[in-house]
Each structure stands twice: as structure tokens, then as C-alpha cells.
């Protein structure tokens, strides 16, 4: 399954938006955190898990989804949220903790919820899987269209929640796709030292579903396999497990010194940065460089607008902390 010209450009644009967004967040995150780094300070406090390098997974999968489909995301959710169509301005404002944020500042960057596009998060490893099964079950029981995609990291494939969810999805033939973003690091522990199998796609066999491994962090290859899996789910043929080789270009969180990385690994990863590679491919496919320049400018403007919106928004009253526990 190959993307149309429009789908290719959509993927590239969302990758660029995600990257520019995170570059902006990275810069602002450091405000108020120098000379001494204290996570609690600055306009964006708390942990910050950047997803730069992992954009191909989000766009290759979400290119096949519309607003009505469900995505459950991880503690590293920006690229997934952007590709799913979460409102960028409200998302930025949420990360700034402002009243105009998705939850008015109650959730923050690990808890992005946008019911308008059926996007939910969990900051707990592996906990995207069960809710995706439930949403898929809901569609099946209500005879409504829609598939659920659970994103998770390769470390989450060692959680019980992952295995329980795969068994449920397999037993109940649910329209759900599990997408593992294998960036090869669970914070500081490499996949090779934490996981009994070299590739998690083989685990699909234990749950009677197809498993695919996609090397190379390649948006087109991801588009192909994810498209097949999502079509399979839509047709009522049940779940699929996909593991994608991807690259975490940043630390686990901002402030991570990454001393666990072997010498030269980061340089090698940056040399394979998927965004310039995607642009090269688009040019080779006949897209005009000036059109891609314009697309990049548009992406940058969108990000600038979202960041300005977040910066200029007000904080909610302190006492808003006490509301919205119940509906």
C-alpha cells in the first residue's frame, strides 16, 4: 500500500509540525532552568519527553485514521497527538499549564486528552493497550465504524498490561492495532538486555494475530503495513501487532545526560534523521523543492501560532484545581 501524493505531503507536513513544535518546546523548556537545571522551574515545568526522531511512526499510522478513530498514546505523545489531529493550540497551552489548554492545565504533557478526535493518553507504561481494546469493543458492540490504535514503546511490551490486552483483542477479534515504537531504549536499559525476544512482532503469534516488524524508521514502509493492519481491523478481521524500528534523538526526558548511550550512537542516529530523508524522497518522487519549502514554512507558522497562543493565554484560577474531578 503506497501513499498518494497528498498522503505523502500530509505525512511530511505532520512530521515537520511535530519536529518544529518540539524544537520550540525544547527551547522554552530551558527558560528559567539555567544556570541550575531544576525541572520544577520555567514556563514549562515537570518532566518533558520529546519524541523527535519518532515522527514516522505517528504519521505512517495516523494517515489511515480519521477523527472518529481512536488513539491511545503514551508518556511521549506529542507526535502521536499531532498526527491524530489534536488541536495544536490547545495542546501547546496544556503543556504551558494554561486555562486554554486541553484540560485547563490539569493534565500536562503526559495526559493529553482531546475527545473531539478521540485521543487519550496515559503516563503509565503499557496502559495505552487496555483502553484501546475497550474502545474497539465499544465500536464492535455498537456496530459503529472505527478502529483503535494503541501506541506503546518497546519497553511496554514487557508489561503485563500489554499481554493481557493482546489476549483480549485476540480472543474477542477486536478492531485494534498495537503499534510499538521501538527506539531501543527503556530510559537507560537497552532492549537487548530487557527483552527475551529480539523483535516483539513474534509475540503476536501467542495471541493468534499477525505481527509485523518494520525496520528503518521509514514513513512509507510504516504507511504500507499500518494501512494493511487498519484495513484488516476495519473489515472485522481482528487485531494486528506492529513493531517499528525508530530513533529517539533526545534523551528519555529533558535533563537526561544520556551517558548510557554508546559513543557515536547519537551522531549515527542524527545522520539517519527521518525528516531530511523524507524530503529527499519527496524530491526524488517529483515534488518541487519550492512546494516543500512552502509546506515547511506553513508548518513553522502553525507552530509559532500555537506557541504564541499558549504564551499569551492566562492561567486558570488556582481553585480550578478543585474542579472537574467529576462531571
Amino acid at each position: 500500500m503506497q501513499p498518494t501524493k497528498e498522503q505523502s505531503l500530509w505525512m511530511y507536513e505532520n512530521m515537520v509540525v511535530s519536529r518544529r513544535f518540539e524544537e520550540a518546546i525544547e527551547k522554552i523548556y530551558l527558560e528559567g532552568k539555567t544556570p541550575a537545571f531544576n525541572m520544577a522551574n520555567g514556563p514549562i515545568p515537570g518532566e518533558m519527553h520529546l519524541s523527535n526522531g519518532q515522527e514516522p511512526v505517528a504519521v505512517g499510522v495516523c494517515a489511515h485514521l480519521d477523527a472518529d478513530d481512536i488513539v491511545t498514546a503514551t508518556h511521549r505523545p506529542h507526535h502521536q497527538a499531532i498526527a491524530k489531529g489534536v488541536d495544536l493550540k490547545k495542546m501547546a497551552a496544556e503543556i504551558f499549564g494554561k486555562s486554554t489548554g486541553l484540560s485547563g492545565g490539569r493534565g500536562g504533557h503526559m495526559h493529553l486528552f482531546d475527545p473531539a478526535v478521540n485521543f487519550a493518553c496515559s503516563g503509565i507504561i503499557g496502559e495505552s493497550c487496555g483502553p484501546a481494546c475497550g474502545a474497539a469493543l465499544s465500536r464492535k458492540m455498537q456496530n459503529k465504524p472505527g478502529v483503535a490504535v494503541a501506541f506503546l514503546g518497546e519497553g511496554a511490551a514487557n508489561q503485563g498490561a500489554f499481554h493481557e490486552a493482546l489476549n483480549l483483542a485476540g480472543s474477542w477479534t477486536l478492531p485494534v492495532v498495537f503499534v510499538i515504537e521501538d527506539n531501543s531504549w527503556g530510559i537507560s536499559v537497552p532492549k537487548s538486555e530487557s527483552t527475551a525476544v529480539a523483535r516483539n512482532d513474534v509475540r503476536a503469534a501467542g495471541y493468534c494475530m499477525p505481527g509485523h516488524y518494520i525496520p528503518g524508521n521509514d514513513p512509507h514502509a510504516i504507511f504500507d503495513i499500518a494501512g494493511q493492519a487498519i484495513a484488516r481491523a476495519r473489515e472485522g478481521n481482528g487485531p494486528t501487532l506492529i513493531e517499528v524500528e525508530t530513533y529517539r534523538l533526545a534523551g528519555h526526558f529533558m535533563g537526561d545526560a544520556e551517558q548510557y548511550r554508546p559513543e557515536g550512537e547519537k551522531d549515527a542516529l542524527f545522520a539517519k534523521d527521518p525528516i531530511p530523508r523524507m524530503r529527499e524522497r519527496l524530491v526524488a518522487d517529483g515534488h518541487a523543492a519550492k512546494d516543500l519549502d512552502a509546506l515547511e514554512d506553513r508548518a513553522e507558522a502553525r507552530v509559532a501560532e500555537a506557541i504564541a497562543y499558549a504564551r499569551n493565554s492566562e492561567y486558570a484560577p488556582d481553585s480550578d484545581a478543585l474542579t472537574a474531578v467529576y462531571v
Binding site: 495526559h111 475527545p115 487519550a120 487496555g130 483502553p131 475497550g134 458492540m141 503485563g160 467529576y326
Partner: protein
Amino acid sequence: MLDQPTNERRLTIARAMAEAMQQEMSRDPTVFVMGEDIAGFGGIFGNTRGLFEEFGKERVRDTPISETGFISAAVGAAMDGMRPVVELMFVDFFGVCFDAIYNQMAKNTYFAGGNASVPMVLMTSTGGGYSDAGQHSQCLYGTFAHLPGMKVVSPSNAYDAKGLMTAAIRDDNPVVYMFHKGLQGMGWLGTEAGATVNTPEEDYTVEIGKAKVVRAGTDVTLVGLAMGVHNALKAADKLAEDGVSAEVVDLVSLVPLDRETVINSVAKTGRLIVVDEDYHSYGVSGEIIATVTEHDISKLKASPARITFPDVPIPYAKHMEQFCLPNPDKIVAAYRKM
């Protein structure tokens, strides 16, 4: 036994719960039930009996033994427009799946700024007294009530059981529905007779967050829930033999907690004894006493007392477990020390 009037039906709590689910499932196609052994088996504790036969296996869904999987699936289904009633067979099993409960079910509404809701019921059995030992006999009321974002109820009788279940299913928030095994009315376990009461056939709700004065009195307030209410009522009978008038408050709901009814009762009686089968420390009993003392300590004529389970795992041997459990005599003795 005296003949009951023909227009009154006495139901067990198990039957009352099942009837509430049956009526809500008939009324609302988004309601469904899932859990371990809840379909053809009718629930280990009888509370889903008859549902499978009427609604079939899609809406009365046996699950694998995967509490994390199916409870977090219920969260996802609830956020997508369904109203799942999901069973955690024994509350003691929360240890294998608590993330789904307190990090997802209870928090997603807040994380969504109130723009999403999680309308689900998590029903779970509590309580001991039948030598099932330390992993099948706990109450853990305080554990669930402590964590924000979920309502917590526990009925003491079939009337409340039905009305609370109906209210819980219709509630747009997650409700933890804790039913005490010793009140359930199962063939294989003795049941507190007072739990089986007249229960209307038509649907109705019992308000979540409203306590009930189930016996009026003037000398001491006995506060409990579920089995604690029955222990308190029996103690009140014993105290009455000595001319002491005890008022008994059934909390019905822990979250929201009806502090006002407790405060008003103690304002009248001046004495407070809390009966709680959960562990002694850091729990419901301490919360009730703090509620009264924070409000107006001058209303108390004596230090409050609490009859609770000691801070030890629940022992197996019958004599040791009974030694630890609350009972009417302990309540009477506590009053006499006041």
C-alpha cells in the same frame, strides 16, 4: 416464619443487584456487564444470575483472568459511549490491576478537564468472617475511598443494593460498588438475615452520597456501613436492654461522604462509635471521627471510639479471625467505657 404480604418481595442483595442490572440493560443498550464467571455461571456471588440467559454473551461477557486487561478495557469502552458494569471478583485482587482503577478510571475525567467522562461501575466483593484468609477477606474501603475520582458505595441491604446499582449505572462518573459477601445471600455462605429485605420490583435509585439513620436514638451514635450496620443494630438492641438509646447511621456511600448526617447525629447524642471491618489505621473510622471533631469537638461528651479490624493480615483460623472482627459485644463494651 410469618407470611409476608403478597405485594412485598424480599430479595437478597445478590438478586437485587442482578435485577437492577437487568432493568438498566433493558432500558439502555449501552449497558453491559463483564468479568470473570459472570455469564453462564451467574457470578461467583450470584449477582449477575439470569442476565446471560436474557442478554447473551455479547452483553454479559465472561473475561479471561486478566483484571488489568478488562478493567482498563472498560475504561476505554466507557469513554467511547458505553456503560460497562465490570466485576473485580474479590476486592483483594485489586493488587493486580490497580493502575486501571486509580490511574485511569478515576483520573481520566480530570485529565480531560471534565470534557470526557468514564461512566462505569466497578463492582467487587468485600469482607470476611468465613475463614477465607488474608487474600480473600479484606474490605479495603479506605483504600478506594482515599483516592480521588471515583465514587464508592456499599449497601447493607437489598433495597439499597438495587437502588444504588441503578444509580451507579446511570451515574456519569465511575462508581466502585462494594458488596459484602456476608450479606449477599448465597447458598454456600451464611447470610446476615437483616440484609434480605422488601425490594420493589420497579426501578428506582438510592442517592449516592446520602447516609441513612436506620435507627433513631439519643445516647450514642453508631456509624457503620455494610456488615458494620448490622453489627451496630445488634449492639443497639443489646444497649436498649440496659436502657441506652443508640442511633445507627448507615453511611451507604463513602464517596461522596454524607458528613452532615453524622455530624447532626452526634450533635444530638454526644457520643460516637464507628464500626468498620476494614483495617484500623488510616481508614474510614479515622475519617468519620475526624469529621466530627473538626466540625465541633464541644459536642462530644466522651472520646470517640472505633471498632475495627486490627492492623494485621486477616488470619485463617476461625477463632483468630473472629477474635479480630468487629461484633456487637465489642461495640457494647466500647460504649460502657465511655
